[in-house]
Symmetry: C2
Subunit: 216 residues, 2 copies
């Protein structure tokens, strides 16, 4: 059985670990599965070969024998479900860990992606600077609620789970913005995630991949 993940040949962040393959690499390290990596150059993302693997022309893609998956949430759930170690055994605790996996992607990440859209896709539009405070306010409102729920706990619900892996990954995308600094509870939570050996290995692997594939 061979696992292959597809990521950007050159990540737009140059190896800062903010592309979505890092979270999949992290999960693979947590469950202890080796993997191979296929880099896709940007122009090929919207070509037929890649679209057959990922209908929305994005990364990551996960391949394991005859199974092909896209969507980082689905890939991480699959790894947790098949290999264990990222979801509690108790059925209710398991459902709650999966809830946080969805919450990271659906209640927290959208406002963060909106910031990236506002900066990059709409940064040159006439409304860019006037609209920005509203975009930032939506993120802060969500972070406040998340911070309130996390409180003094180490992780979102008992032991570290796939839900924490995804939430930390999503929050890491805010690093360049500095917004996280206003939320010490979440800053410490993200640091606990980054300190995990599996995260460290994943981060270094994507960094090395980007360095090796960097244009001369």
């Amino acid at each position: 059985m061979t696992i292959t993940i597809t990521c950007f040949e050159h990540s737009p962040d140059g190896g800062k670990g903010l592309a979505r393959d890092t979270r999949v690499r992290w999960a693979l390290e947590e469950v202890g599965q080796p993997y191979e990596v296929r880099g896709v150059p940007f122009p090929k993302l919207k070509e037929a070969e890649h679209l057959a693997r990922h209908p929305f022309g994005q990364i990551p893609v996960f391949e394991e024998d005859d199974l092909t998956l896209f969507e980082s949430g689905a890939i991480i759930f699959h790894l947790a479900d098949r290999y264990g170690g990222l979801l509690p055994e108790d059925p209710n605790a398991r459902s709650r860990a999966i809830m946080w996996l969805f919450a990271a992607l659906n209640s927290v990440e959208p406002s963060i992606l909106d910031l990236q859209n506002a900066k990059f896709a709409e940064g040159d539009k006439p409304w860019a600077s006037e609209r920005m405070p509203l975009v930032l306010e939506r993120i802060k409102q969500r972070l406040k609620q998340l911070s309130d729920r996390l409180g003094d706990n180490e992780w979102l619900d008992g032991e570290f789970s796939a839900g924490d892996l995804m939430m930390v990954s999503v929050l890491l995308r805010l690093k360049p913005s500095g917004i996280l600094g206003g939320f010490p509870t979440l800053t410490a939570y993200v640091e606990r995630g980054e300190a995990r050996p599996a995260y460290q290995r994943a981060f270094k692997a994507q960094q090395a991949f980007n360095a090796a594939s960097a244009p001369a």
Copy 2:
């Protein structure tokens, strides 16, 4: 064992089935589980009692004995996982159905929610009309990709699954906009979903709930 779901006391759509409790009701009907309904008035969404159930102050919430879940994706996954009928038995097919559940929420719904934000939260802003074409274009691009992948298939991957239930629910939110009309493949797909007896029962139940709780 009693299941209780929490929804808006008065849905902003007045019972058109576009609030997120409808998808949970639909899943409950598909798996054949009875449920009770608690309506929450808008002002109470951000109060402590509701925030204890849902840290982001939204709906739906799902309660089953001592388990409390928020996030419609997590609730529908839980129902599919616990009661069967919405996920294939074959492990790879099951992982792909879960992939579509995530894809509906993460690759399709965000651009649709952005349209709702653009209409309602930013409808009175100076940039509203100038920005709208860009918001609509993002949706159409995603719908085109989804339509290409669905092609002539009845459902996204073999039999009807939790992934289709979520994708149809997400696409239904576009009904008021008329955008779906430009994608006959997706229009027919949504109609197949709406034609399911379980959807019909769920739709009527939320409609009756909204009618019964409507202000005099």
